[in-house]
């Protein structure tokens, strides 16, 4: 049985059909890449799965529960973590406090008024930071971090609630090519250990083809292909979307694209 199954998902903004009758599924532990040109509807898909947007129609089944239209925080509690296309932290907190914040929320401690938060879940937060290689920056103000490091901290935060499913919208946008590979490698390793399913979008085809278990392709809101690397590479429709417009797979990358 799949961890997440999307059926006939649609969303329009005014006249723009951002996501149009999209269906796909993610199996347990699967590392699924969603690709497509800018404006294809990828972020809109993510926003519906995590509850930030309510779909116009369609089902989002987490296990056998339809989560379409639920609030982001409720969906998070069901074990769906996410990172954002434009990464940011809670700017007035230190790095470790950012992770602690998610742990406090996960443990149901948010309404506690007495015990100082600084000491709560600190060990676990440091552990998570160590796993993403950020333990040395733990007590620095998070707003001083380099962008690539912010992405790593976001990853640590997203792992705090031991998610079943992780949504990562362009986790490597705005990073240098080497950093990209490292980050995705790290993600892959972490989720393999935990058996987490991942849905991610990524512009670098090198990264996608070397790490993804499976690939789905979105274009103008529609799902046009679903298969493994070889199948996607040879798919004429996909080639048309990418090559037909004069673009190639590799230079499609556009860091800092609008969210």
């Amino acid at each position: 049985m799949s961890v997440l199954a999307i059926r006939g998902l649609s969303k329009a903004f005014g006249g723009v059909r951002a996501v149009n009758d999209v269906s796909f599924a993610i199996g347990p532990g699967e590392f699924l890449a969603m690709i497509g040109p800018n404006g294809a509807g990828k972020s809109t898909c993510f926003n519906m799965i995590n509850g930030q947007l309510a779909p116009d129609s369609g089902e989002i089944l987490l296990g056998d529960r339809n989560i379409a239209g639920m609030a982001p925080r409720a969906i998070w509690r069901l074990g769906v973590g996410r990172t954002f296309q434009v990464a940011a932290t809670f700017a007035s907190m230190t790095v470790v406090e950012n992770v602690q914040m998610a742990l406090l929320s996960y443990a149901g401690d948010l309404y506690r008024l007495w015990r100082p938060a600084a000491a709560l879940h600190r060990e676990r937060a440091l552990e998570l930071l160590a796993q993403v290689g950020m333990q040395d920056a733990a007590d620095r103000p998070s707003r001083e971090l380099a962008y690539g490091d912010v992405k790593r901290v976001e990853l640590a935060i997203a792992l705090a609630n031991e998610p079943r499913l992780l949504l990562m919208d362009e986790p490597t946008a705005g990073m240098a090519p080497r950093e990209r590979n490292d980050l995705i490698k790290l993600v892959k390793q972490l989720v393999l250990e935990r058996g987490i399913s991942v849905l991610f979008t990524e512009h670098s085809m090198d990264v996608v083809f070397s790490f993804a278990d499976r690939i789905i392709v979105l274009a103008r809101g529609r799902l046009i292909a679903d298969g493994n690397a070889a199948a996607i590479r040879d798919n004429p429709q996909v080639q048309e979307v990418y090559f037909g417009t004069g673009k190639t797979f590799s230079n499609e990358a556009s860091p800092g694209a609008a969210p």
Binding site: R73, T89, M101, L110, L113
Partner: protein
């Protein structure tokens, strides 16, 4: 009442609607283009009445009156242009809160300036030459000047409407209202556009004020009343929409007229006098509109709210230095009653400062870490003060009970108002909190039978031993210390972190399971509750409470205290409140023109020390220590 009487009131309402429209339309235009909420707008209106009075009496006749009205509009327009050029230009990029404070400083300065030029007497102008009589309508007499006003509003609306539609200036205004960035792209000289819009808006306010000269006396209280009215109209109509402003003006004027028209009604033996609810009704309309349509009847959502300019440092537990300092201060305060034996006034001063500290610290709790810029914190002060005082008045409650009830009454109010307020953000939250505070104030003011109306409640004196200054001081000190430590504790607890997470990034906070609205609602309630303690203490310290002490001025004082100390520091509000209360009790009592002085302090603060006293000191300290 008869249908005729109702109809007559409705027509009468239209002339009030024109008045409201003139007050509000300039504010709306200015906000639409510059995104500045000009709190001095009511002052421009007030000065309009005074200037027109001078023309009408000094020159006199048709020229002095009608020519004077036009000249007034031009003069006030020029004042507006000066304000824009000299002050606002420097703060377009500053956080909203600072812009509001800077323009409030102008309110204070203009009030004292008017006071200085025209004196404190109310000045009633002559009747309008040519329109001094009245017309017969539905068997009643309607002054022909009122009829003229009723028509003047729609005429000006039409003229403005076509100006905006047809001329290049109008097109620019509309473009800027819809999309600020676009104006830059059009290659328009933004400075000139902003200055002329400000002048136009000010001229309209001046015209509105001048037109009142034949109807109502010029008084120094007009500025805040007109400002309140202007806000209600603009917020109800939608910021930046002139048609919305007229629509809202008509609705509000008619609701008020209806209240007066209905008069006293018997509900199963209980007589309710609706004409007493005019003030409450106005703010109630605004609150309802803000809740149902947060951007007003004809307004459009105004993009994201800007955040505070300077990023904030992570909070740190108190250093040994700070703890030592706190202990020393506390020790000194405990010793103060001994010093006070020679000068009893010291105790009164001390009590005032401590009450201000509770007030400001509770406001900072939601303003700083919560990011909710409440412009109506006086409501919870008032609920606490009146809660305590009314218990004493009606139930002869002992002081202990009354003081314990104060925070509970305030808590109830904060839970109710906060539930609505946290659904908005930025300017809209500021306006809604202001509206709620005005509802509390108006209810207290107009519900004479229960609250004593404008006289307030008197005879709320503490019982022995607290009738002694030193004993009451120590009680206040104890409660203030508890309040400050409690709020600080909350900020370091998970709850305080969740508050800040929700402020830093609501989206991300929600994405990790934080119910931001709920957290902020509870924070609002906690702040209101603690503020109620200050109110309760205030009532007993003064022996009385009146609507005047819970007016919008108190809310603004709170904002000044918080900013004076520094919004981004936890000790800031304590320092800010102390300095402010000391200034108020000492220097400001010495001069008749304390308003202008306070205004000047605010302006210096906003322009020169945007991070407040404590902020400035810690910046200095960091720079001295060098990069470490």
């Amino acid at each position: 009442m008869t249908l005729d009487a109702l109809l007559f009131q409705a027509i009468n309402g239209l002339s009030s609607a024109s008045g409201l429209f003139f007050i509000a339309v300039g504010l709306s235009l200015i906000f639409g283009v510059t995104r500045i909420i000009n709190l001095a707008h009511g002052s421009l209106y007030m000065m309009g009445t005074y200037i027109a009075y001078s023309f009408a009496t000094k020159i006199g006749g048709v020229i002095g009156f009608w020519g004077g009205i036009l000249a007034t509009a031009i003069i006030v327009g020029c004042i507006g242009a000066l304000i824009e050029i000299l002050l606002l230009r420097r703060i377009y990029r500053a956080p909203e809160l600072f812009q509001l404070l800077a323009t409030f400083a102008l309110v204070l300065v203009f009030n004292d300036m008017t006071h200085w030029i025209w004196g404190s007497e109310d000045l009633l102008g002559p009747r309008a030459p040519g329109l001094a009589g009245s017309v017969e309508l539905l068997g009643r007499r309607l002054p022909s000047y009122d009829l003229f006003l009723a028509l003047a509003g729609p005429v000006v609306l039409l003229i403005l409407h076509f100006t905006l539609k047809v001329t290049r200036f109008g097109r620019l205004i509309r473009a800027a209202t819809q999309d600020r960035e676009m104006v830059g792209a059009l290659g328009v000289n933004q400075a000139v556009l902003f200055t002329s819009v400000f002048a136009l808006g000010a001229a309209l306010a001046g015209l509105g004020g001048a037109l009142q000269v034949a109807r109502e006396p010029a008084t120094l209280a007009t500025d805040l009343i007109a400002l309140g009215d202007a806000f209600v109209v603009v917020v109800v109509g939608g910021m930046g929409s002139i048609t919305g402003a007229y629509l809202a003006a008509v609705i509000i004027a008619e609701v008020k007229a209806l209240c007066i028209g209905i008069g006293v009604v018997n509900f199963g033996g209980i007589a309710v006098n609706f004409s007493k609810f005019t003030l409450v009704a106005e703010f109630l309309v605004m609150a309802i509109v803000l809740i149902v349509r947060p951007y007003g009847l004809l307004g459009k959502p105004q993009g994201a709210v800007r955040s505070v300019a300077e990023p904030e440092e992570p909070i740190r537990a108190a250093t040994p230095m700070l703890k030592l300092l706190a202990a020393v201060v506390l020790g000194l305060l405990l010793f103060l009653p001994v010093l006070a034996q020679s000068s009893p006034y010291l105790m009164i001063l001390g009590i005032d400062v401590l009450i201000a500290v509770i007030f400001a610290t509770s406001l900072h709790f939601i303003m700083g870490p919560g990011g909710m810029h409440s412009f109506g914190h006086a409501a919870y002060f008032g609920l606490g003060a009146y809660g305590a005082a009314l218990l004493v008045k009606w139930l002869a409650a002992p002081m202990g009970i009354a003081l314990a009830a104060a925070p509970l009454v305030a808590l109830a109010g904060a839970l109710l108002f906060g539930w609505f307020a946290v659904r908005l953000s930025g300017v809209y939250l500021a306006m809604l909190t202001l509206a709620f505070a005005q509802i509390v104030w108006a209810a207290v003011f107009q519900w004479e039978g229960f609250t004593g109306g404008s006289n307030g409640v008197i005879g709320v004196w503490p019982k022995p031993p607290f009738d002694q200054g030193w004993a009451f001081f120590l009680l206040t000190l104890a409660l203030a210390t508890i309040a400050v430590l409690l709020l600080r504790r909350f900020l370091f607890a998970p709850f305080g972190y969740a508050m800040r997470a929700g402020r830093d990034s609501p989206l991300r906070a929600e994405a990790i399971g934080i119910d931001v609205k709920r957290i902020h609602w509870l924070a609002f309630a906690i702040a209101g509750c603690i503020c109620g303690v200050a109110g309760g203490l205030f009532a007993f310290a003064k022996g009385s409470i009146s609507p005047e002490s819970i007016h919008v001025g108190r809310s603004i004082d709170g904002l000044v205290m918080v900013l004076l100390g520094g919004i981004q520091t936890l000790t800031g509000p304590i320092v800010g409140a102390s300095v402010f209360a000391l200034l108020q009790d000492t220097i400001m009592r010495q001069t008749e023109y304390w308003r202008a002085l306070l205004g000047a302090v605010i302006l210096v603060l906003v322009l020169a020390f945007p991070s407040g006293i404590v902020g400035a000191f810690s910046n200095l300290w960091r720079r001295l220590r060098g990069p470490s």
